[in-house]
Symmetry: C2
Subunit: 217 residues, 2 copies
C-alpha cells in the first residue's frame, strides 16, 4: 500500500508489490501443507515450489532460505493459535470461561490441524526455531492465566487443581485430535468423518474436564 519511496533513492526498506503479496501467500500456504506433513527436514524446497505452482528459483526469490519460510510460517501461525487463551476473562464465570476455551481449541484442531501439527513437530524436536517465543511470549501469557485460575480456586469457584497442569491437559487433549489424527482414525474408523463427531468429541472432553474441576464440597 505505502507505495511511497521515490525512485532513485537508496535501497528502499520495503515495499510490497501485488505480485509479491500473491506469491508469498501461495508459498506460505503450500509450505504449511508440506511442513506440517513431513516436518522441516522431511520437506524439500521443490515440494513446496511445486505445490505453490512455481519454480524453485522463483520461490527462493521470495524466501532466500528454507528456514525463512519455516520461521515466517511459525510466527504467523502461533499468535493466532494462542489467541483463545488470551481471551479467558478473569471476571467471567470460571466454568463458562473454560468451557468456551476448550470449545474454541477443539474447533481449531478440526479446522486447522496443519497448524497444530506444524507446532507439535517443532516442539517435539526441541523447538529450535521458537524457544525464544516460548519463554518470552507464551510463558508470560500462561503465567497470567494460571494466576486467574488460581484465584478462582482460591475463591472456591473451582476444585483445588494446579492451574498449569490444567492448562497442559486442555492443550494435550484438544490438540491430540489434530496431531494424532491417523491414530484416532485407525481406532475409531469411519466415525471420525461423520457429522457430529466433533460435537461428540467436544462433549466428552468438556464433560470429563469440567466435572473434574467443578468445585466439590
Amino acid at each position: 500500500m505505502a507505495r511511497a519511496e521515490s525512485k532513485k533513492l537508496k535501497e528502499a526498506p520495503e515495499k510490497t508489490t501485488r505480485i509479491q503479496e500473491i506469491n508469498r501467500r501461495l508459498i506460505l500456504d503450500a509450505a504449511l501443507d508440506v511442513f506440517s506433513t513431513y516436518g522441516f527436514r522431511g520437506t524439500t524446497i521443490d515440494q513446496i515450489a511445486e505445490r505453490a505452482g512455481m519454480s524453485k528459483p522463483n520461490l527462493l526469490y521470495y524466501f532466500p532460505r528454507k528456514q525463512n519460510i519455516y520461521v515466517t510460517l511459525l510466527e504467523e501461525t502461533l499468535t493466532e493459535w494462542l489467541a483463545p487463551l488470551a481471551e479467558i476473562d478473569a471476571e467471567g464465570d470460571p466454568i463458562e470461561q473454560l468451557r468456551k476455551y476448550i470449545t474454541l481449541k477443539i474447533n481449531m484442531s478440526e479446522t486447522h490441524p496443519e497448524a497444530s501439527r506444524l507446532f507439535a513437530n517443532e516442539v517435539l524436536h526441541g523447538a529450535p526455531a521458537i524457544s525464544d517465543f516460548l519463554t518470552k511470549y507464551l510463558k508470560p501469557l500462561v503465567d497470567e492465566k494460571a494466576g486467574v485460575i488460581r484465584r478462582w480456586v482460591g475463591e472456591g469457584k473451582l476444585a483445588p487443581v494446579d492451574p498449569y497442569h490444567l492448562i497442559f491437559m486442555i492443550w494435550a487433549t484438544t490438540q491430540h485430535y489434530a496431531d494424532f489424527d491417523v491414530q484416532v482414525r485407525a481406532i475409531m474408523g469411519s466415525q471420525v468423518g461423520r457429522p457430529g463427531f466433533k460435537e461428540q468429541t467436544a462433549q466428552a472432553v468438556l464433560s470429563i474436564i469440567l466435572n473434574g474441576i467443578r468445585p466439590r464440597n
Copy 2:
C-alpha cells in the same frame, strides 16, 4: 552361490552370535536416542554409527537399511509401550484400575520419553511405518478395553463417558509431558527438574480425570 552341502544339515535359519547381540543392542539404543530427537528423515546413519561407537559400514552390516533400524525400534518399543493398557482388569474396581493405568503411563513418560517421542513423531507424520500395527493390533486392544469401560459405565460405576475419548484423553495428557517436554520446561522452568514434580503431575492429572468420571447422582 552354492553354499556347502558338505555339512549334513541345511543352513540354519538364524543364529545369533554374542557379538551380534551386543552390537544390535548398541545400534538400537543409539538409534532410539537419535531418531527420537531428529525424526526419521532428520537422522543420518553416521549419527547413529558414531553414537553406537562403530563405523557406518559396520552398522550397515547389522541393519542393511536405515528403515530396518527404524522399524525394528518401533516394533520393539510399541509392545512395551502399550503393555499397561492390556493390564486393565475388567474385574477390578474401575477407579482403581484407571488410577493404576494413568500412574503407569505417567511413569513411562518420565522414564522413557524417547520412546514416547519416537512414537509421536511417527504418528504425527501419518504413521507410514506402523499403520498396519495400528489397525491390526492397537485397534482390537482399544476396542476391548473400551468395551470394559462401557460396561463399567452401564453398571453405574463410572459417570457416562465415551470410553474412546476417555482413553485418548489419558494418552494425550500423559504423553504430553514427554512429547512437549521443551514447552513444559519453558513454562514451568526449574520446577520440572525438582524431585516431586512427577508426583505433583500425577496428582493433578489423576485428580481431574478421576473426578471427571466418578459416578454422580
